[in-house]
Amino acid sequence: MATVLLIAEHDNAKLKPATLNAMTAAQKLGDADVLVAGQGCAAVAEEASKIAGVKKVLLADDAAYGHFLAENLAALVAKLGANYGYVLAPSTTTGKNMLPRAAALLDMQMLSDVSGIENANTFVRPFYAGNAFATVQSKDKIKVMTIRTTAFDPAAATGGGAAVENVASAGDTGLSGFVSQQLTKSERPELTAARVVVSGGRGMGSGENFKMIDALADKLDAAVGASRAAVDAGFVPNDYQVGQTGKVVAPDLYIAIGISGAIQHLAGMKDSKVIVAINKDPDAPIFQVADYGLVQDLFVALPELTKAV
């Protein structure tokens, strides 16, 4: 019997890469079984069985799990998880939605967004939007945790040969029903998963001028973000917002354009590997966290940069 139950993230057709990052965390704690719950997801179970180090794949294939409704999934995870020392899921919106529910059913105090594993019961996690890290010791019998995927390298997707075992469905609670899904059909990568993020601030002056940000993002295959000031000014919608109350991003390259660097914004992007800031104000706080700062009018620098990359 493995000690860790890892909940796979997938779309019924393919495994999502976040699962591999969480697998690396799982392996630091012991042998791991992977639960693939979905509908018509046998191919995902097959894919999961090949992840290096997986002991066993548990496949719960049922209409109740087709849309990953938290009420149904949590009931299954709580039932299966009761036999493990650890229950893990990647810290995605699916994991964040489902796992606290399962933890409460198990009467365990979950740990969110674990970014480090010190030993069997001691973990590190960010709070205050990553402005502080807590080293915490869990006294609970089952450690239920979401894993911050940017903190762990992905496990090898191949090399394993685990058996796939069918497990019974825990049934449909009937509490919620799926209506529809509107996935953003942007050519651009998702803000929280992008390798490069280009963000604009109040300095952009208008929503129309954000087209200049789009042009640079297109050339770099980047996602587009914004500061709260730009969102509050109505330049771009709320879901562009990078910051403490918006999205927290940690791309390889973050380009901040016309962003002064309020604390609220810095909290959401300062874990980026390389930060570039372009701002005409040499005293803008953004320069204190930027690896490369360019003091120049963005309306001159931005088109030039777009042309040069």
Partner: protein, 249 residues
């Protein structure tokens, strides 16, 4: 329909927090505190439902120190009808919070609980989901749209990569995301009126909930500091650095 809105008093989102020098926690002395932004959105949504005639009464609840009364007064000034403070000076974990809220739900029998998806101090994002589990209710987390739909609610949720719409049976729990609404500022007359609205105080023991921590914080540290960067003179130098030094493009 009665709505319960739990709200939390946290360090104001504009404050740059400091880790205590003995690494025992975050410096909270003389720091500006406010209502957690996501909780403000929850109060606003409840008030809008009441204004539309979909709700009859809004009860704001806070679990925290005596000063959390201020947070509750803010909720009352925004339009909540009455408030309950579960007073404790201890930091209470999400599971214990969910258990206390369940005890209040059992007593007050609301049809809907709307709360923030997370507090910006603990960043746990657990309480709503845990409360829904303990109540055996459905959950609509990270909501960007809440619509009354027949006997239930239609909830649009923010998920990685887009939006998802769910039908929820009532009673249920909804947690708010940023896009749901823009909370109003309370007018001066409403702030004055809020002072007259009822605010009851109780203790965790009154609710019969064991709040003994399950998780012990051993240490709080600052994130690794970023190395001081350089200023480049023009775009050409910037592109050169990104290509040849940082190797990110």
């Amino acid at each position: 329909m009665k709505i319960l809105v739990p709200v939390k008093r946290v360090v104001d989102y504009n404050v740059k927090i400091r880790v205590k020098s003995d690494q025992s926690g975050i410096e909270l002395a003389n720091v500006k505190m406010s209502m957690n932004p996501f909780c403000g959105i929850a109060v606003e949504e409840a008030v809008r439902l009441k204004e539309k005639g979909a709700a009859t009464e809004i009860i704001a609840v806070s679990i925290g120190p005596q000063q959390a009364q201020e947070t509750l007064r803010t909720a009352l000034a925004m339009g909540a009808d009455r408030a309950i403070l579960v007073q404790t000076d201890e930091a209470v974990e999400p599971l214990a919070v969910a258990k206390m809220l369940k005890a209040i739900v059992d007593k007050e029998t609301p049809q809907l609980v709307i709360l923030g998806k997370q507090s910006i101090d603990g960043d746990n994002n657990q309480t709503g989901q845990m409360l829904a589990a303990l109540l055996g209710w459905g959950q609509g987390t990270f909501a960007s749209k809440v619509e009354k739909d027949g006997a239930g609610l239609k909830i649009t949720r923010e998920i990685d990569g887009g939006l998802e719409t769910l039908d929820l049976k009532l009673p249920c729990v909804v947690t708010t995301d940023l896009r749901l609404n823009e909370p109003r500022y309370a007018s001066l007359p409403n702030i004055m009126k809020a002072k007259q609205k009822p605010l009851a105080t109780m203790s965790p023991a009154d609710l019969g909930v064991d709040v003994t921590p399950r998780v012990v914080t051993l240490k709080v540290s600052e994130p690794p500091k970023r190395k001081a960067g350089i200023k480049v003179k023009d775009v050409t130098e910037l592109v050169d650095k990104l290509k040849n030094e940082a190797k990110v493009i």
